[in-house]
Amino acid sequence: MSEQPQLLYKHRHVPGINTIDVWMAHGGYENFKKALAMEPDAVIEEVKVSGLRGRGGAGFPTHIKWNAVPKNRDVEHYLIINADEGEPGTAKDRDLMNGLPHLLVEGCLISMHAIRASKCYIYIRGEYIEPWKSVQKAINEAYEKGFCGKNVLGSGLDFDIYTHLGAGAYECGEESALMSSLMGERGMPRMKPPAAPLPMISGAWKRPSVVNNVETVSTLLPIIELGGAKYAEIGYGSPRSRGTKLFSISGHVEKPGVYEIVLGTPFSEVLELCGGVRKGHTLKTYIPGGSSMGFAPPTPLDYPFDYEGIPANTKTLGLGSGGLIVFDETTPIVPITQRLVDFYHHESCGKCTPCREGLNWLHKIYGRIVAGAGKESDIDLIWDICDSIRGKSFCALGEGAIWPVMTSLLLFRDEYLAYIRGGKDAMTDLTTIGL
């Protein structure tokens, strides 16, 4: 098995690494100092060379976003950190904030310098009280040491970081909804370019704003440390998927957990790293990158696990947020898909019709199938409803909601039919799942 270099998790197991003294004893804030001595555009150039893509779900190249920010300081620029992590199966940002809060804080400072921002808001989902305390404590320590505040390290620049607690809405992870929520409004998404200006030009409070994921900005530390070119050498898959990425691996594996994995590692090795499918069981299916990416077939397993490598025939969109959920042969696919449908139905913000009505309809159909009153025609109906949401929802929540549904139909149509034909008796008693 190939060696997995640990860049983000290098110091994960050092006792007390969440405190600034231990962090600094291990080279903490040196990368910030190094970046601060560089011109902002030189930092962006390193990020460009590194090939860094956003770790929050969409995989959009970070430097393109950053370069779109005006290069002056006439108005305040904002860095907004997306720590809303609500995608079922995704648990990496929480792990990072709990264990390595200074990695995030230092990453924020480097990003703020690059995009010429003097204020940063870390938007943390409401459930994450422990990570929030952990991050706030790290920010407080950074202020005490002079890495935050006015005229930081004599640079003449001000860097203020605040935490902002959400209050329970998955939709707030979407970047325009997140900015609405930050501004004290309902977390509903807004018009996107070209119909509206780029958030990098007119975002929160109509000022230049960049929204980045927790892991994205944390990855700046190894990029600054190694240099963009050296960082880009890490990774064995596509030239467009470089470096390492955190994956939260859950479900039916021997050693679930958050793993730092080189992009492009063969998927079979990823499975081996977490101990494989639990003993005595076989792989039925898996969700490669958080629930809105849908189910993948159990073969092939030797493809490169990165943004480009996921087999096209799975019809999934890719790595997403890095939430790998593994299901063995005991998993009943219909109730699992129902749970995801109900999740998206519950979290739909209700702004646009295809998502609001379509998911409500799917919710009803799944309810009836699981209650033993499904009809064979329901299968085609489900497909048609998904088709009418695909590409027509206002934001990516609607789009994400249909992938688990469509892929489950593609892969497990027989199981749906057996459930429908067998009526209630064919249904799996949910309380037996997991035994």
Binding site: G86, E127, L165, L182, E185, W205, H252, I336
Partner: protein, 178 residues
Amino acid sequence: MSKFTEKDKARLDELISRYPTKKAALLPSLWVAQEVYGGWLPLEAMDEVAQHLELPTADVQGVATFYTMYNKEPRGQHAIEICHNVSCMVLGAEQLIQHCERKLGVSATGETTADGVFTLARVECLGACCNAPAVQVGGTYYENVTAEQMDALLEKLKSAPSEVVTPPQSAMPEMRKF
């Protein structure tokens, strides 16, 4: 009747100072209000926030009702929230939920026990999928929870004070600390 003390109002002022607009302090202010009002947001609480932030009350209500973690009704002393999403589901979340329902005699739809001690609810992914099944009580997570551990936890919580979420302290040196 106003419940906000001068100290509470000063806390709101500190929150307001973090943002370019007063309105932006709404979510954190609602957290403060929920703490002051004992874990939920009656209309008066929203009114007080509206007054302090100089916003129409309707705006505050509209926002408060959008977010599931602002409680519109009083809850028990301890809210037991069990994740029922897929990673937890395949590792026994349903059994755990039914176990608690039997034990407490309430449905996990947010019902509160007759003695007012526990509210039981199933919730969506808590972001602890690798340690499923996951449970949250107040601001604390419990992971890889078995039925036995759940029993022990319920026993322990019976005599414990409830945990209320308190918005964080900013460390900006020029800001007052509370």
